[in-house]
Amino acid sequence: MTTAMSLQWPTDDFSRIPFAAYLDEDIYVEEQERIFRGPTWSYLALEAEIPDPGDFITTYVGDTPVLVNRQRDGKVSAFVNRCMHRGSMLKRECRGNATMHTCLYHQWAYDLTGQLRAVPFAKGHMGRGGLPPDFDIKSVQLTSLHVESYRGVLFGTFSDDTEPLADYLGANVRAELDRVFNRPLNLLGYQRQRILGNWKLYNDNVRDPNHGALLHMFHATFGLYRPTQRGGVKLDDRGRHNISYSMMGTSDDEADAEAFAGTKKVFDKGFRLEDPSMLQYDKEFPDDVSLTILSIFPNMVLQQITNSLCTRQIQTRGPGELELYWTYFGYADDDEEMTRHRLNQANLVGPGGLISMEDGEAVEMVHRAVKREQDEHGIVEIGGKGEIGDHDYLVTEIPIRGFWSYYYELMGIDSEQAA
């Protein structure tokens, strides 16, 4: 049996990643306990999805089904989406409004705080059957998560030992959430993408600004993102979260030609879009940043790609499968034209996105290729070795090392084992 403890880390700066970490079933089970049920905050939903009392959504933390609802008093609570009686899934719908959550199997009914309220035939029939007299309905409560909201973004944790959400996020991440979640939202809809690869491969992907214009040639071609632009990465103190940011129009053709020389991608092929409307950025933030990818350990991405805004939630489906759940939004004060523009720009991302469809393929290609190479390691040296921290350049994959340093810590891997 492979365990996280038995993974080999040949360097202490996480510039070598053991492939076994992506593949092993036992490690996956350990991750569910130590990471998704450990001292981390998982992204659940946006408050805007459940504005009114009784509104609920169902989601996953790792692979645990979770029910999130707004109570009568306006507070948001989250529970394992499982009836305490026989373990049936309590809510099957993706979203809705309910005054009670009634299990369809035997109709045990819970209120919005997760308290069991009613059991049919509790006293049996004609004085026979039913629950024993000492069964205390009030003692039955759905298994709950701690819930905290930052700027209307809801996070949950199973652990009593998790640090407060604001501390967990850190100043850089809070600043980015302040920037994007600056006023009431208008939800535009959802997309889902199922990828046959490990959930950490996607976390690597979003912490890797270097791949942006190499894998996604549409980016480079139309200048939405080039690693030659002004930009960089900002991490939290622990290196676990990352913000990659860049500014359109800050690279010059000569530098681009030099940078892309030797790649197979011809970035200056000279084809033009017949309808370039989706490339336009209507500047809407005080800074010049036109693209940000914020990744929050372990399951959240927030993107600003020009005017396309969305969260991506990573749901695990086993060591070899993940689902990305994309929630697109604009602002409540957007006019019709802005809403149309955001919808138009949604063509850039998601499973059919002109600049993102390749990620699904990249994750699957790695997952397939390393299957029998579990003792081997991936190389993470672009951007530099050693220290993990902020820097103001984009040809980097240092944030990947940040992710793995925190992963290593959470998985309880003996620190003497490194190097």
């Binding site: 809809g189 959802y190 199922r194 894998l215 059919g352 390749e358 699904g360």
Partner: protein, 157 residues
């Protein structure tokens, strides 16, 4: 039109549509649309919840051509062959020269290694107009029941 009824022409158009995608003749596929066409792939989830977000959207023929050019030149995707299976086409009637047409589809994708998966199941909700006797899609609305998209949505449905 010759002696071909409008119904028969519409059914031929629907058949040509899926055939041209399956044969990877996307440049010809684009020519089945009007210049100011609308092409949308919608997730059934969003349709039912009343959200406007598309999985793919083109608001004119130029954007359709852009999609094809991007697929040919820029995007790297899971190389595969598509096969559409189209249901009996329902021609629901016409109003102001536009015919409402509906049909169900399934799309199978086969890999380079010859493995086939069911990729999508859904409904076309279309508007067809006649231009000099030629039927064209003014609107092609693809409602995708398989909205948890496997891998990626590269080629059109």
């Amino acid at each position: 039109m010759g002696d071909m009824s409008e119904h028969a022409a519409i059914i031929n158009l629907m058949a040509d549509y899926v055939h041209l995608i399956d044969e990877d003749r996307l440049e010809e596929w684009v020519e089945l649309f009007t210049d100011d066409c609308t092409y949308k792939i919608l997730s059934r989830e969003n349709v039912e919840a009343g959200y406007p977000l598309e999985l793919m959207s083109c608001h004119n023929k130029g954007m359709l051509r852009d999609r094809v050019v991007s697929l040919r030149e820029a995007n790297l995707y899971n190389l595969h062959t598509d096969k559409h299976v189209l249901s009996v086409v329902r021609v629901l009637g016409s109003s102001d020269g536009a015919w409402s047409v509906q049909a169900n589809f399934s799309v199978y994708q086969s890999t380079l290694d010859g493995e086939t998966d069911l990729f999508a199941v859904g409904t076309y909700r279309d508007k067809v107009v006649f231009d000099n006797g030629n039927p064209l899609f003014a609107e092609k609305i693809v409602v995708n029941d398989t909205f948890a998209v496997a891998r990626m949505l590269s080629t059109p449905i």
